[in-house]
């Protein structure tokens, strides 16, 4: 294989541009032009190799190792997972192909269908409350208050804590004892009538978990909204002020439309997070009491590792993955259409 080496070449220095020393500068002070020096560039050194022994690798060849790893670690398990969804595999031993039986069973399984309803309710609650709280926090710390840097750190801090740790922490907050945790606090401020069995009452358990998730991730939403707020040009606010717009009108007609990209990101992330919620539910309530706080993720975990129905569990996981993908795409399409830029 032959290839041409770069030849030594003569490079002429650029003509001086117009300016102080440019050609426009004429008159008695103009210095005579010197002959530009010739710069010789040596050809780059190449390894000495015998002709015909080199192996040429196209640029995309460098991606191959990464692709191989990706295929082994991500693609193969994913495709194998899809295949398991059509078997009756228990997680150990042999598996038999059962066609669509797992998907038919899923539609008839009240336990799984209840977990779908719980997942949707939990997701809606988390998406709405987390983003409202995150937006309010962002607006609050975007002002000129002196402690805003500290507050940003404080509000964001829970987002970096392990979800399981948060769940254990909140189990103490949700202690049903009248003098402990949240109940104790309510009693101390004269709201003893509001004391509840937060995780043990089937009508409350799901919402208690939602509150825990909102507490953890509202600061995360805040940071994204904050980035959006800081991208709003101040001139727009000043112009609106000159036009006589009040605080609310400036938020409604200037800030809010400009926050659309941040809102898109926040809604997407919180929706996906809500639909996949596992750790906090599993550690705080284990899906109980009864099945009151069972989500699709905890249900499929139990199907696989507690009940030993790996094939069925994979079918549930596949449906969950498709569900998340469809919801995310629809949401993204809708939200992107509403975005404006400065």
């Amino acid at each position: 294989m032959s290839r041409s080496l770069p030849q030594p070449e003569e490079i002429q220095p650029e003509e001086p541009r117009a300016g102080k020393t440019g050609p426009g500068r004429t008159g008695p002070t103009a210095r005579p032009r010197k002959t530009p020096p010739t710069v010789r560039i040596q050809p780059p050194q190449t390894p000495r190799t015998r002709p015909g022994r080199d192996l040429t690798v196209p640029p995309w060849g460098f991606v191959v190792p990464a692709l191989v790893v990706y295929a082994l670690v991500v693609l193969y398990p994913s495709i194998a997972g899809v295949a398991y969804a059509f078997t009756d595999w228990s997680g150990i031993g042999d598996a038999s192909f059962v066609g669509l039986a797992n998907f038919r069973a899923l539609l008839d399984d009240q336990r799984t269908l209840d977990s779908v309803v719980n997942t949707l309710l939990l997701t809606i609650a988390v998406v709405v409350v987390q983003n409202v709280v995150g937006l309010l926090l962002a607006l609050g710390v975007d002002t000129g208050i002196r402690s805003k840097s500290l507050l940003r750190v404080v509000f964001f801090a829970p987002a970096v804590v392990s979800p399981v740790m948060v769940a254990f922490l909140w189990k103490y907050v949700y202690n049903p004892e009248p003098t402990a945790g949240l109940n104790g606090l309510l009693g101390a401020v004269g709201l003893g009538a509001l004391r509840q069995d937060w995780l043990g009452d089937p009508s409350l358990a799901l919402w208690s978990v939602a509150a825990m998730v909102v507490w953890q991730y509202a600061g995360y939403s805040m940071v994204i909204f904050l980035a959006g707020l800081q991208g709003v040009p101040p001139e727009l606010h000043e112009a609106a002020k000159i036009d006589g717009a009040g605080t609310w009108q400036r938020f409604r007609y200037v800030t809010w439309p400009m926050l659309a990209p941040a809102l898109t990101v926040n809604l997407m992330l919180s929706t996906i997070g809500g639909l996949k919620l596992f750790d906090q539910v599993y550690a705080a309530t284990n899906g109980g009491p009864g099945t009151a706080s069972e989500t699709l993720s905890t249900a499929l975990f139990k199907e696989a590792f507690v009940y030993g129905k790996f094939g069925y569990s994979t079918a549930v996981a596949l449906v969950l993955a498709l569900f998340v993908a469809v919801v995310s795409l629809v949401q993204l399409r809708f939200l992107r259409a509403r975005e404006v830029t400065a």
Binding site: R3, S4, L5, P6, P43, P44, Q45, T46, P47, T49, R53, D54, L55, T56, V57, P58, P59, P65, V68, V69, S90, G91, I92, G93, K171, Y174, N175, P176, E177, D197, W198, L199, G200, D201, P202, T285, N286, G288, P289, G290, T291, A292, K302, F305, V306, Y307, G308
Partner: protein, 445 residues
């Protein structure tokens, strides 16, 4: 640093690549170097697999946290005569162990010796694993011949022994003697006496029975304490009848047992909000004297003792589910044991270790560490004094295995947990709760 500099030098040498042509040249040495990397990457999985299990360097033992004390104690003794041999042990709570070991079993790199639950009814039960051909037959070991026939279903599948377990732990009431004494009551021996004692304790401002039903496995204990009298005292072949479809939970004494469970709650004998109370909170209530007793397995006696300043205040009595003390039946379940993976079948060390555990003195040591009664006792066997009230009942054959050890699949037990929590929160009634369990029982395993 040297390596880094070498890489930089190498990069400098290849700096003459002809980028205009869109290709890059590599020397044969460079290609071989890259190829070596790929070969190394290909070799990595087997290397990791070798590290993570199999019969590589040492015997690998994976157990549940409950087994940690006896396994470590006995392994120490075992290694005295085998100083050159390597062993690795790791322990985790049941669900974590179950998740990891099942995955390893599926992947073919299971530990040599691992936790196995007796009978059926769990995803890591002896029957489930033996049926899949994943356990080594231990029938020829001397201790296997001494397993009482009443415990056969816990240890054997199709006539072969696949489980080593030291014996049975009991369910009863762990109680605070000082609280009982202050209220002027004695441990009851009949259901009516139990109600009277609870009434007296409640009148003295003490929670009679602490119940931490937010922790799922705690929910089952009162059912298990009541079912032997309500079911097995009348029909010792109930499990066979269930398997044959001749009866159901709903149409059996289970309805009476859950009815009594509900009665205890209706009379206010539990702490407020049991579904929001955890096992740890339950333990603290009894240990501090806020509650008088808790229905628990004997295996957690150590935990209760650690939680109190005066461990001698804690004792245990058989929970009276019936009205005739002479005919009281109690639950006694075989404790979680060990099995040998088929991967380790040709490794004599695994079976040798189990044979060591099967010696009478070691069975006694293990049983003592987990407050269990050895499956075989001899003159040298000592049982914790707290368990002595149970021995006459066990020796009289009025102890039945924990109910889940004969259930046909791993779904009935979680269904029972959920049913009891629903019952406690008023979401369902006894028939509804037992209906959930019947549905789970009839699902294919």
């Amino acid at each position: 640093m040297t390596t880094g500099q070498g890489q930089e030098r190498s990069a400098g040498r290849t700096g003459g690549a002809d980028l205009r042509s869109g290709t890059t040249a590599r020397s044969r040495r460079g290609f071989l170097r890259a190829g070596g990397g790929i070969v190394a990457a290909g070799a990595l999985p087997p290397v990791l697999s070798g590290c993570s299990g199999g019969s590589g360097d040492g015997l690998r033992i994976v157990g549940v946290t409950d087994q940690q004390q006896p396994v470590e104690e006995l392994l120490k003794l075992y290694r005295r005569s085998r100083p050159g041999e390597a062993f690795t042990t790791s322990f985790a709570p049941t669900e974590q162990m179950q998740t990891v070991v099942r995955t390893q079993l599926a992947g073919g790199n299971a530990p040599d010796v691992h936790a196995v639950y007796p009978g059926s009814g769990s995803a890591m039960s002896m029957v489930e694993l033996a049926r899949a051909g994943l356990l080594t037959d231990l029938s020829t070991q001397p201790w296997a011949a001494n397993i009482p026939s009443a415990f056969g279903t816990a240890y054997r599948y199709e006539g072969h022994t696949y489980l080593y377990s030291a014996g049975s732990c009991l369910i009863g009431a762990i109680y605070n003697k000082r609280v009982f004494s202050r209220a002027g009551v004695e441990p009851p021996s009949t259901w009516q006496e139990l109600l009277a004692v609870c009434t007296r304790l409640r009148a003295r401002g003490v929670v009679p029975i602490a119940l931490g039903a937010q922790t799922p496995w705690v929910t089952q204990l009162i059912s298990y304490a009541l079912v032997p009298n309500a079911v097995y005292a009348h029909n010792a072949r109930f499990d066979d009848d269930m398997a044959a479809g001749r009866t159901s939970f709903r149409d059996s004494g289970w309805a009476d047992a859950l009815g009594r469970y509900q009665e205890l709650q209706r009379k206010g004998f539990f702490n407020d909000n049991p579904n929001g109370t955890t096992f740890e909170q339950q333990t603290a209530m009894v240990a501090t004297g806020k509650a008088a007793m808790a229905v628990q397995v004997s295996a957690v006696l150590g935990v209760f003792r650690e939680a109190t300043e005066s461990p001698e205040d804690l004792a245990m009595f058989p929970f009276p589910g019936g009205d005739d003390p002479a005919r009281l039946w109690i639950p006694a379940g075989i404790v979680v044991g060990l099995g040998v993976s088929v991967r380790a079948r040709r490794d004599p060390r695994a079976a040798d270790f189990i044979a060591f555990l099967g010696k009478q003195e070691n069975i006694d040591r293990w049983a003592s560490a987990v407050f269990a009664i050895p499956f075989r006792r001899d003159a040298s066997t000592t049982v914790d004094p707290v368990l002595e009230p149970f021995l006459p009942i066990v020796d009289d054959g009025r102890a039945v295995p924990f109910m889940d050890q004969r259930w046909p699949n791993a779904e009935v037990q979680p269904a029972h947990f959920a049913a009891v929590q629903d019952l406690l929160s008023g979401e369902t009634d006894v028939r509804g709760a037992l209906g959930q369990m019947d549905d789970a029982y009839r699902r294919a395993s």
